[in-house]
Each structure stands twice: as structure tokens, then as C-alpha cells.
């Protein structure tokens, strides 16, 4: 699974390179969202195949990026070059999606999730002790 993820990251990177150099910026944006989600899955999975919450995190992040980027592009196109017919707190609707909506929403699955999942998934007490055992270090030494 890890090999496949790395390959998927490589393929999306290659396509991002091609779309960047041909100015297909909307396609680039969605490829970037996929690529970033894959990095999140890679960081969140364990061993070669243990996915745990990794897939969910990746999917949630991907949905947030795709929806927000689509909304940003839509509102940018609708009000291009003119003062928008309506604003949100004075902000251009597309700008409002960028800040604060995408800024705050993407923080949840990518950054806040790390603290929320740390004890249950990322590095449990048990996996820490197992790691120390594997490398021949006693937990007692750790607490000195």
C-alpha cells in the first residue's frame, strides 16, 4: 500500500508539472489537492498497510480543498474585475472562502487532527514501548 501511495504521489506530481507548464491552472489546483491529501495519508498510515484513520483524514482534507477551491474559482469568475454585488463582512465572497473558510477548515484534518489522534493512533504508549524494545532500550531509561 505504501509503495502504491508513493507512486500515486509521483504520478500526481508529474501531472502537476505538466499542467503548470501548460497553464492549466484549474486542473493543477485539483491535482494539488489530491497530492496534498496523499501526503497526509502517507504520514498518517503505519507500517506497510495499516491505514487506521489515514484514509478518512485524506478524504476529509480532499473534500475541503476541492469545495473551497471550486468556490474560490467560481466567485472569482463571477465578479472578475468588478466590485462584487454582495460581500460577506465587506469581503469578496471568493476571498471569504480563502480566508477564513479554507484557512480554518483545512486546519482541522491536517493540523488539529494530529493532537486529537496522537494518543490513540499516532504514537500510543504501547507502540512507544514496543519501539524501545525493538531498539533495545528500556522504558526506565527514558524516564530518568
Amino acid at each position: 500500500m505504501r509503495d502504491n501511495l508513493i507512486l500515486a504521489i509521483g504520478i500526481t506530481l508529474f501531472l502537476m508539472l505538466v499542467t503548470a507548464l501548460t497553464n492549466l491552472w484549474q486542473v493543477f489546483a485539483y491535482l494539488m489537492a489530491i497530492n496534498l491529501s496523499l501526503w497526509l495519508v502517507l504520514g498518517a498510515m503505519k507500517g506497510e498497510n495499516e491505514m487506521g484513520p489515514a484514509i478518512w483524514l485524506g478524504v476529509i482534507a480532499l473534500v475541503i480543498w476541492v469545495c473551497c477551491l471550486s468556490a474560490i474559482f467560481y466567485y472569482w469568475g463571477v465578479f472578475k474585475g468588478e466590485f462584487p454585488s454582495y460581500t460577506i463582512g465587506g469581503m469578496h465572497p471568493g476571498f471569504f472562502v480563502l480566508f477564513p473558510v479554507m484557512w480554518l477548515l483545512s486546519f482541522i484534518p491536517v493540523t488539529l487532527s494530529y493532537a486529537l489522534l496522537f494518543d490513540k493512533w499516532i504514537l500510543t504508549e504501547e507502540s512507544w514501548r514496543e519501539y524501545l524494545k525493538k531498539v533495545g532500550k528500556s522504558p526506565e531509561v527514558e524516564h530518568e
Binding site: 508539472l17 469578496h92 472562502v97 480563502l98 493540523t111
Partner: protein, 490 residues
Amino acid sequence: MSSPVIVGVVIAYFVLTFGIGVYAVKRIKTAEHYFGAHKLFGVIVTSIAAFAAIMSGFGFVGGPGLVYKLGATSLWITFAQSVAFGFSWWIIGKRIRLIAETRPIATLPDIADARFKSNAVRGLLAISLVLGVIAYLGTQVMAGGYVVSGLLGVNLETAIIIVFGITMIYTAIAGMAASILTDFFQGLIMLIAAVGVLIIALVMTGGTEGLFTTIGQKDPILIDPLGKGTWMLALMWYFVFAIGNLGQPHLATKFYALKNYKDLKWGAVISGGSYMLSSLLWTFVGYAALWLVVSGKIPALAKPDQAAIAFLANIPVWMAAIVYAGLLAAIMSTSSGFIAIGTAAIVRDLPKAVGKEIEHIKQVWWGRIVTIILTIFALLFGYYGGYLVAILGALGWGYFASATLPLLAIGLNWKRATREAAVTSLSLALILNIIFLIYEKVLGMKLPYGIPSYGISLIIALLAMIVVSLFTKGAAEEELDADIRAAMEV
């Protein structure tokens, strides 16, 4: 010279920073403490220091300047930071901290060598770091000098000596430990400045309604989500800055400074949250300066980089004093981290790369000597380098991202990543960055559609790491050391 309040706050800042830096020497017991603050600090200190190291003077001056010039385009850089710290913790945080548990890791080349078992990788990475450090410090010399010269009313040379003399002394005395402890203090100042600026900017302009409506009615492009840049520029910036954090040496080094593995837990939230707060400074100082010009309160600025200064001239003097202290904190915190990283690369990594090693007990003293030499060299380069400084100054964020990120992100997460791939990726990153430097800065040409060249370098370096690993075998799979393998399996 500025008002007595600003001068007083700036001098108090210098005294406190110097005191904290020197105090850090109490923590130094080994060479690993000196060069990497190996397992010395808890989560709060390390996480705030990580944010402070990443938030450079650019965020205080260059960022608002870009908002003044382009509108929202540059905000894709700073808004990417809400995920960038999370990515760093997810992708490399745990692995680096686990490796630090079993090995005396003090530098990034230490980690690269442990993973790829290669003097070539260690040497190439060390050379990349030293080059990048000198280039970065060179650009900060004049910036720091001009700021302090204006604030204290001293000449440029004296100002440079004050800022970098203080930074050099505490970094020489206590190395990375001083860098992290002062970064923590400097990060707190930046946070106070960011929150204060946000409140004052919103009160001054009548809230977001008054701010954006006034600017948007004059020029609607300045308030749309793209601004005056291109989509390829904004999107590539978001990508490079979201993922590129973990390739920044001054961030990655913080993971082996953590005292306990449990300190990883809240690190991403504290660092990322702190940076998000300081993003508000970047955003609202830039827009508030635009508002001041559009509403006719000040004349149009001659240069975009004057946006922050123009804004500070229109806020209460006590707040301006804190923001100036925050600006100096941003310059000094990033500089001290780079000085410590460059010193470690010279004293520890380059000798090891050629099969020699400075006696462990003498490494700290050599570190102090090299810190002084490196800082003086960077000062002379920054002061006399002229055009060359401007050219090499481009070797910043993207350069470090393309050189370091593939090694760490792919190397620590994929057992099939090979030594040959690491050497290829690192060499390509170096070569591409130099080629693009000549292409853009010497020949004056640009990539199409506003694409930042370091985005292309980063993608190619990552692709090289993956593709070459598929066809080579060195230091991969069965050849991995047991502790590295175990750290990659947790």
C-alpha cells in the same frame, strides 16, 4: 531616531534576548546539546520556537509589501501555513523524534546519513545547508541594519554590529540551545505584535467592512481571492509553502530538540496556530496600508516594502514599539537558527563526510569559533556583496525545500527510497536552483505564467527521488539499520 518609547522597548528587547541566549549555556552538556539541542526542551518552548524560526522578517515587511502591491496573491503563502505545520508533524515529526531516541542526532545530515548510510549524502546536504545559510544571512544583514539604524539613530554599520553582534555572541556561547530559547521569547513578542496589530488595524479602518469596501471600490482586483498575480503563482505558492515547511532545516531540527516523545502531541497545533495568528499581521498590515493610501490619509508609497513602516507610523507609539521589537525578533530568531545550522554543518558534517571527525569534546569549542567566523563572513558578504547578495538571496525557502524535503519526506516514509536516489535528488536540487538563479537573476528571464522556479525544482527533486529509487537498491529495504527500520514501522 524614533520616539523614546520605541528606543526603550527595542533596547529592553536586546537586553532580554541577550540574557536569555547566554542563560541557555546552562543546558549545554554535550556536543549534541550545542549543535542540535538534542532532547533539551518541552513542547511549548520548541513549538513556539519552530513558529518563530519559520516566521522571518519577510513576514513582517515583505509580506505586507506584497499585499500592498498585488492584493491577495501573496496571502496564498501565509494561509498555507494552517496546514504546513500539520504536514511537518505528520510526515517527519514522529520519525525524527524516534530516531533521536536511539542516536545522538544533532543535525539534518546526521539523520540523512543514518537513513542513507552515505558520506556523499551527508556532504552534499551539508554543502547545501552552508550555501543556503550564507545566502540567507547575507540578505538579513542590510535589512536588520536599516531597521535598527532608523530606530536607534545610529549609522548602518553600528546597527549591523548591534543586531548581529548580539545574535552571534549568544549563538556562539550556547549554539542551538540559545537559538531555540531566544526563538521562544521572540515568538511570544511576535504573537503579541500580531494580535495588537490586528485589533488596531480593524479599529482604524472600521472593521473588515470598512477596510475591504474602501479598497475594493477603488480597485476591485485588490480584494478578490487572486489579486494581481497569476493563478499558477498563487497555487504553486500554496503547494510549496504547505509541503515545503518540513524541508526547512530550522523547523526539522526542532523535532530532535523535544525532551519527551509525548511533546510531539500538541506541537503542530501550537506552532501552526501561532503562525496563523501572525498571518493576520501579514494580511491586515498590508491591507491597512492600502486603506491609508486609498482613503487619502497618506500619499502613495514609493516602494511596496514601505507598507509596514507606513502603517506603523499611523498607530499608537507603544504598539509600534512592540511591532518593531517583533520585527527584530523575526529577523534575529531566523538568523540565529541558520547560524547554528551552518556551524553544525561545518564542524560536524563536512569533516564526517570526508571520513574525519573532530574529537567530540572539542566540537563545542570549534563550534564557537566557527559561529564567529561564519557570522562575520555573512556580515561582510551581506555588506559588501551588493548584486551578488541580491542574486543569492533568492536561495531561500524553495531552495531548502527542494534540497531537503525529498530526503526527509520520502526517505523517512518509504523503505524503498535509496541512497542513489538521495544523491540524485540532492544534486538535481542544487543544480536546478543554480540554473534558475542564473536564468532569472542574471539573464533577467522568467518562467511562463508566473510559475515560481523553486516550485519546479521541488517537484523535479521529488520525482527524481521516487523514480531513481525504483531502479536502484542502496541503503533500502534489507540494508536499513534496525533502529531506522523500527522508526519507519511505528
